[in-house]
């Protein structure tokens, strides 16, 4: 309270007046008419949504959410009944997925068979030449045509 007694009185008077006048003014205001006058789109366009979102602590909100409670409220059976399984299968192109996985398996099996062949090729080549005393010489032989495989000397350097 103000130390001046007149000032204190005036202050009390003003407060009493405000207490009476403010409710009367509020009652007199037509809020709907006021809102009608406001251009909401303009107000919204001024709002920096990114700034607002950046201030929101999403993790904190998520932590507060009780997911199990939400799930308990959901009627899963009703949702499942609503799903058109045929349409879903059509959209996922199940046929192409099966074909792709089958191709992958076949490729892998073929790789193994081919690798076995390469192993046997090496075995027969090595032992065949070893039997006729060419063990050292075959180590210098080219591994492939010059356009496809670098010569051993070039690789060594």
């Amino acid at each position: 309270m103000s130390p001046n007694p007149i000032g204190a009185r005036m202050e009390q008077l003003a407060q009493a007046l405000a207490e009476r006048i403010v409710p009367m003014v509020i009652e007199a205001i037509d809020i709907d008419a006021l809102i009608d006058r406001v251009d909401i789109d303009k107000v919204v366009s001024r709002v920096d949504v990114d700034k607002v979102i950046s201030k929101v602590d999403v993790d904190k909100i998520i932590d507060r959410v009780d997911v199990e409670k939400i799930i308990d409220r959901l009627d899963i059976n009703a949702i499942v009944e609503k799903i058109d399984i045929d349409a879903l299968v059509e959209q996922t192109e199940l046929g192409s997925i099966i074909a792709r996985s089958t191709t992958g398996i076949l490729t892998e099996v073929l790789d193994v068979i081919r690798a076995q062949g390469v192993g046997l090729d090496d075995f027969i080549f090595r032992w065949g030449n070893r039997l006729i005393g060419r063990r050292r010489r075959i180590a210098e032989w080219p591994e492939g045509p010059p356009l496809l495989v670098e010569p051993r000397e070039a690789r060594a350097s």
């Binding site: 892998e108 193994v112 690798a115 390469v118 080549f125 065949g128 045509p145």
Partner: protein, 196 residues
């Protein structure tokens, strides 16, 4: 939980691309080709017999005319090998087992080489013991048909699964492979660009 089967080693897969192919792979591929060409020939003969019966009402069996049957088979076999080699350097059997016919230098073969190689293969089959030893004892693993046509046979399979495993495990392809050379060239490219 996912489970990964142990795959073939890179030394036997990606690392062998472009290398001379050995006896077993080539023999197995040839066996597959013999089966495929015979199968297609038999199917063709059966279809011809059915069509002949359908249009004329009489039945005709090619095997009753042996000389004609042998001549048709010879022409068919010639077309089977020479056409496929001319088009892509590989037959069905070679494609399955990941082999390819290339020139001695390693380039793609032409029609003339494909035809010569087919003739050479026929001779190789006739002189089996002599013709095929080159695959084991010759330095470029060339058989008689390869010498006649000026060709060689290399491993050319992509080995997709093996490549993926290799890439997951190692930073670079095995030394001496085309993939390794391409990697080296790629690495050099930015340096050359910066220098210029």
């Amino acid at each position: 939980m996912s489970m990964t089967l142990p795959g073939p080693a890179p030394e036997l897969t990606v690392g062998r691309q472009g290398h001379y192919a050995g006896a077993v792979s080539r023999l197995v591929a040839f066996g597959a080709d013999v089966g495929a060409s015979w199968g297609l020939y038999t199917l063709g003969v059966a279809l011809f017999n059915a069509a002949y019966k359908l249009f004329t009402g009489n039945s005709y069996t090619l095997s009753n005319h042996r000389l004609l049957a042998v001549a048709i088979l010879a022409v068919w076999e010639f077309l089977y090998y020479s056409y496929q080699w001319a088009v892509g350097g590989r037959t069905i059997g070679m494609a399955v087992f990941g082999l390819q016919v290339v020139t001695v230098e390693g380039g793609p073969i032409g029609t003339k080489q494909a035809v010569l190689r087919t003739i050479g293969l026929a001779l190789s089959v006739l002189f089996f013991w002599f013709a095929f030893w080159g695959i084991i004892f010759q330095r470029e693993r060339r058989a008689l048909d390869d010498f006649i046509a000026g060709t060689a046979v290399v491993y050319s399979w992509d080995a997709r699964a093996a490549r993926l495993r290799w890439m997951a495990r190692a930073e670079s392809a095995p030394k001496g492979t085309i993939a390794h050379r391409q990697e080296q060239e790629k690495r050099l490219e930015p340096e050359e660009g910066a220098a210029s």
